[in-house]
Amino acid sequence: MQSVGSGTRAIRGLGVLAAAAIVVLTLAACGGGGSSSGSNTTSSGTAVKGGTAYFAEGTQAAPNYIFPFAPLQYFSTTNFQDFINLMYRPLYWFGQGAGPNLNLSLSLANAPQYSNGGKTIKITMKNYKWSNGESVTAQDVLFWMNLMKVEKLNWAGYAAGTIPDDLSSVTASGNTVTFQLKSTANSNWYTYNELSQITPLPMAWDVTKAGQKPALCGTAEWSQVQVAGSKVTPNSAAAKSCSAVYSYLTGQAKHLSSYASNPIWAIVDGPFRLTHFDTSGNVTMVPNKKYSGPVKPKLAKFVELPFTSDSAEFNALAAGKVDVGILPPTDITSNATTTGTCGIKPGANNPRLAANYNLVAGNAWQANYFPENFNSTGNGGQAGKLFQQLYFRQAFQILVDQPAYISHIDHGYGVPTYGPVPVCPTNSFAASELKLGNPYAYNPGKAKQLLTSHGWTVKPGGTSVCANAAKCGVAAGTKLDVNLQYVGGSPFEDQLMQSQKSSWAQAGIHVSLSTGTFDTVLGNAVPCDSSSSNCSWQMENWGGGWIFSPDYYPSGEDLFQTGASSNSGSYSDKKMDSLIHGSTVGNETLDEYGVYGAQQLPVVWQPITLTANEINKKLQGVTPINALTNINPENWYFTK
């Protein structure tokens, strides 16, 4: 080994290479562009105009669509609440304070006036201005409606029989637009679920090519826009024009990198306009100086930043690079406490963030649940029959200890769901449901008693067996063995599901858990008939239930009405149908529907996890966090 041992000098030469690499890294540390310093600890002070607020986008959820007339695949919080709505205001703005109510102050029109037994609706515009100087008129509303008539299959909010199918005419005259309905509708339902879908479009968008003369879609009368057949084929010159305009604007919306430079998208009526957008999700907006709304932006810039993971967002918060972001659940160090029905008081902030940020609990306008398949052919054909038994659904729900899961799994950042109308944040729709409270409070003894009294031989920790078919409602000898598939990959969801499994086991209800991807679970959870081959699924949990947007009125016609497309479990009940009909077509409130839904358990109600929001102590105007996840950066301002 002499030669090797004497190779020291040679090694030194090689060592220089390795050392050089390290030196390069060290030099890089000293040079290069530095990051700005974090925010200080001031929590109050004098308001200052200007400044740049940095907003964290949802993890791996960067905006990717700008045209407000979006198909369902682009209808997301990231695209609408965080992006499109800041530039192009909907006709009616929903969300007041933390709640979901109609906000007339931020709407482009005055309150809709219903007459003729609710069949005629008059809407008066407020004379907002587009950034090109033109007024936001009734004709702009008609432009949207014409587009919707022709391209309804490509509109996210469309459901058969609803707007625009339920309209016999729409006319624009001066600053008033008049909707004539084919039949009467509940005014709340129509305003919150149908008019909520309209966004006036500028006449400058009524083109089929850049620089061309205006098309017919924007100026055509409703009756001139004619379509035919189930495929909604354009059947008139105006309709063909709408189709061409839609194709053009959709085509423009596919060029993400040109969003900030395209003159089409520069015409806005919202408080902000776009100055930078890249395909990675970096967004910069500046105030629209011609914004006609009541609150003018005070910030000089509003910047949205993309993140690949929760931990990347946390690091950005810790480095002080973000002013408004979300604390990942894994980084919550102290439990929140509940005050009253809906109040959530955050615990101590994460020590790395406490100096610069205030922690604020979010809100959600949502009913969380997972469906049971009432027509399931699983468990030897007995699963569907079992789910049809109210006593079983009651026993099953009684064993779901929502307050405990919120406290132990969600760190207190959650609210329970006890019925179909969200109780939190406090709102006018859920008065009766609020009084009712939790009709099925956690009580394993009661669950066992319910099963025993209905003919089951209960085996805690094992699998109960039906001993009396007449009482059970299923064949004698049937085992209380059900399957539940949920979306895997989240430790919190795993924990929640395992906790419930243990809880159900106390009454001898054996639940076999399995996981799938989001689309697998959703793909299984479709309404089916027991005679079809794909109806063996029993329970599917996609994690989230239903978010009420743009159907802000939680009336349940999509969820629990017999035959509704999103009635995954094929729940069917005459009284429920009647209550839903009363609150959508008649003049009923949601009171009775909410209470009945809470008692009847058409689905298994689950707790809602809320976000823990981090807000820079020097940034004011961000709270309360709206349940519809709308953001209003025009209210935000920095303090000295």
Binding site: S3, V4, G5, S6, G7, T8, R9, A10, I11, G13, L14, G15, L17, A18, A21, I22, L25, A28, G31, G32, G33, G34, S35, Q60, N64, Y65, L72, Q73, Y74, F75, L153, A156, A159, A160, K254, L256, T279, T308, S309, S311, A312, N315, A316, A318, A319, R352, G489, G516, T517, F518, D519, T520, L522, G523, N524, G544, W546, D558, S565, S566
Partner: protein
Amino acid sequence: MTGYLIRRIAQSVVVVFGVVLLTFILTKIIPGGAARAALGPKATPLKIQVYNDQHHYNVSIYQQFWIYIWQIVRHGSLGYSDKYNQSVRSLIDERIPKTLVLVGLSTIFALIVAIPLGVLQVVRRNKPVDYIVTGASFVGYAMPAFLLGELLILWFALDLHWFSFEAPQSNSVWGELSDPRALVLPIFSLAVLTIAGFSRYMRSSMMEALTEDYIRTARAKGASPRRVLYRHALRNALIPIITLLGLTLPAIIGGAIITETVFNYPGMGLLTTNAATQNDVPLLIGTTFVAAIATVIGNLIADLLYAVVDPRVRYA
């Protein structure tokens, strides 16, 4: 050599076609379907039907495959990702340079460190330096990438403020390279794993080379230790490293999912993983297509480089 090249390229085309076909079939077997994945819980049967019509998912799998291949051949199109609202090709075109910067630089850095380290270990075999480097290699190899990344961020970015907590956020290669402070931690964290592996290979390869007859002959002819090490042993010891590098090409193109996730750097790794988890069928097939091409090219390059560094290897 030309004949060999033609044969290998023909084989590669068959392999790539097979991979794409297999991936295409597998994506059709996944339950749920692309429409459900894209449209979410509010998808009505009508909307699913419209979506499937617009994306040709209602025709037979043979027709779908034919449409896909025709798009590639005729228009060079790999399809459209609704999840990103971008063409698959533009997504890949955008992410590959980012990934090349991150993984490519880390591989170069790893080589620059690992080769001397491997040689050093042989020269100082069974001495404290050897033990220390071996121990450090094992630690580096065993360290989960996300843990190392998070620790580096915690210490060097958040506490000491030496480096940025995230990789460069620019969309251009030049923009990324002009922010070296932000490149240090992701490159280093990715390189640690590679250094550990490469240095072990280098050590064993070098040890083997130094026992060969030609080394003894070189010494007998009076060659200096430096010349023996560099000209005779090192060149031969590098052959296995070249194989390793060739096989690293798919990884360089494929990205580094953990590092990209931790350092907020959307590259090919994240793109591919998301395509799989979100059932983004066109993107999944597109990224697989690119990975297959990178794999066959990487293997081909490795085989060709053999002939360059080892005169004994000749391809007929």
